[in-house]
Symmetry: C2
Subunit: 339 residues, 2 copies
DNA sequence: TATTGCAATAAAAACGTTTACATTGTAAAT
DNA sequence: ATTTACAATGTAAACGTTTTTATTGCAATA
């Protein structure tokens, strides 16, 4: 009976009534307004405790139109990708430290879903948004930036508008991987790309091409395959490559999931790594060491990217006029046994 | 100039003014109330399109106190665990199909964080909640259930209250794994458990013990280790086991992350699987086949669990009085090469 | 013709906040 | 003794909805 009521939300009004003051005063106490008698403050605080009062965030947001609603939106392309999970963890830690809640939307590379979620986020009056746009000209996110909503882009930037963005050195990262393969003596190095329209895919391809050139290896376009950044795509494209009349002797995989897909195909074919085929993945996972064989990979500081993005977003929410910033994080080649 | 305005949210009021009707009428049009003149309806709908009006979900929730706010909360213990990521995907798909948005909270097995997030979810007036409580007597979630908020528990139930719950056959799953090891001739089979207070950990231990008994293997309690369900814990406890005077010849790992941790340790020690030590994991991953060696594992239908949970939650939101239900999903032993 | 009934719409209250503005009471200054 | 100033508090409007209740006009009935 009493325990039932424990969780019935009490409002400012009830607190005010019980404390014998007006709701304005209670509000002032809650928001630490200086203009309130210390004695009154104490009394009100006691009642707040007694009633287990928690402010209603919905009412707060409605009133304050995205000021101090303490809610940020996150729009990620694929929650199955461990990279984004790590990014999410970084975001979440910072959000928690700053008492922000997260509303997470996973649009699975589906533009219709992306649009729906952006509408929802907007109509939820989020204070800000961390997003990985589908491409550089993503109109949906671009419009949102133009509307003045604080936004930080991760992993993928926006071309038509000034916006904070946290990126990684995709080109350098890819270069170091492919260069490593070339220096190890591999001649027919394939590249399995994610979605071709993504800036990151293009940059990685550039790094790949440059490394080949620098090592005097001619570029064979049959060895470049474009997929959709997902596991299945890695499985299929790797299969295509291995069935080629003259198959590659090494593979550079464009992301996490592609790498896992490619590995699956290689194992199904019974090939041994790296003697029959070498592989390097873009994006490391903490369990890469437990793969067969331990995977050589380009490591992105995913968790750190998430943290930085969230920190920057909070800065921007608090000061919308501050100059925009673009941050490029370094990658690192982690050499294990797959090449 | 004009593009700036494209995304300025327009309200019911503006639509009403432009259409020359009252806001009540506009609201009726939006909610498909039958009591509105077809002619008026058409006119209003046109204005809605022109103004790109989107209803404000915050106002809606404030007014309707968790009716049709179309927002559900998800409280998960560890987003790094691929199992929960899969569950989340299932939830998300169903939510999307039903036009619900998700507010996702990851409490990282931290009870303080759990409490904070529950408070937030409540004060966000979510329509319902999908949660994996920290233990059977989780007061925080229990209270919330008592308060009448629609809740579905996944992976872990609640003892003191009647609540919908989606579980897996932990005991049978564990039994099948350990029985498989025993039948293969292994004698010293260790169990690395997750958090001991979790019902799932206990059930899996029971399955482990029963399988040993059934195969005439005495239970050696030094071979049972309790950790915290995380990767590091798998690394450390596996190390302890391998350093034992008479180490195990097989390991049954209590979850995903523990398995990966254990694999890491085994590889670091340079032991070969399964000749020197066998391992079976609880919980399969789609890339388990790419591990070294391809992992034998007990597969939980994680995605399906998420789907069922979300479906059940929506049913309950729409009919809070319906009888509660408890659903137990089957597991499946996927035999590969690690034992 | 005066009443009734009904369809279509408008008006207004409510949800729980924040805040600009108005009202008190009291002490200092004239 | 009256004004002034200021601190403390209260009042009320606003945020954008939904919904209950009230109003209108018009056709059908007595």
């Amino acid at each position: 009976m009493s325990s039932e009521n424990d969780y019935k939300m009490s409002s400012l009004n009830e607190v005010a009534k019980k404390a014998g003051v007006s709701i304005a005063t209670v509000s002032r106490v809650i928001n630490n307004s200086p203009k309130v008698n210390p004695e009154t403050r104490l009394k009100v605080q006691q009642v707040i405790k007694d009633l287990k009062y928690h402010p209603n965030r919905v009412a707060k947001r409605l009133r304050n139109k995205s000021a101090s609603g303490n809610l940020i939106g996150v729009l990620i392309p694929d929650i199955q990708n461990p990279f984004y999970v790590e990014v999410l963890r970084g975001i979440e830690d910072v959000a928690y430290e700053n008492k922000y809640a997260l509303i997470m939307c996973n649009f699975s590379q589906d533009e219709k879903k992306e649009q729906l979620y952006l509408d929802i986020l907007q109509s939820e009056s989020v204070d800000g948004l961390i997003a990985a746009p589908t491409n550089e000209h993503d109109q949906k996110v671009t419009n949102l930036v133009k509307s003045g909503l604080p936004i930080v882009c991760v992993d993928r930037g926006l071309a038509d508008v000034d916006v904070d963005v946290i990126l990684v050195e995709n080109q350098n990262g890819a270069y170091s991987a492919v260069d490593h393969l070339a220096k190890a003596g591999y001649k027919r190095i394939a590249y399995i790309s994610g979605l071709r329209q993504l800036p990151s895919s293009q940059e990685r391809e550039a790094g790949y091409s440059n490394a080949l050139k620098a090592n005097g290896i001619p570029i064979d376009r049959t060895l470049i395959r474009y997929g959709d950044s997902r596991h299945e795509s890695g499985v299929k494209l790797c299969e295509e490559l291995l069935n080629l009349p003259s198959p590659p002797d090494a593979i550079f995989a464009g992301n996490n999931l592609i790498t896992l897909g490619a590995l699956e195909t290689i194992h199904k074919k019974g090939l041994t790594i790296p003697s029959q085929i070498a592989i390097i993945g873009f994006d490391d996972m903490y369990w890469s060491i437990s793969l067969n064989p331990p995977l050589t990979a380009v490591k992105q500081p995913a968790y750190e990217i998430g943290r930085r993005a969230a920190e920057q977003l909070i800065l921007r929410i608090n000061d919308p006029a501050r100059p925009t910033m673009s941050m490029v994080m370094k990658t690192e080649l982690v050499v294990r046994s797959s090449c």
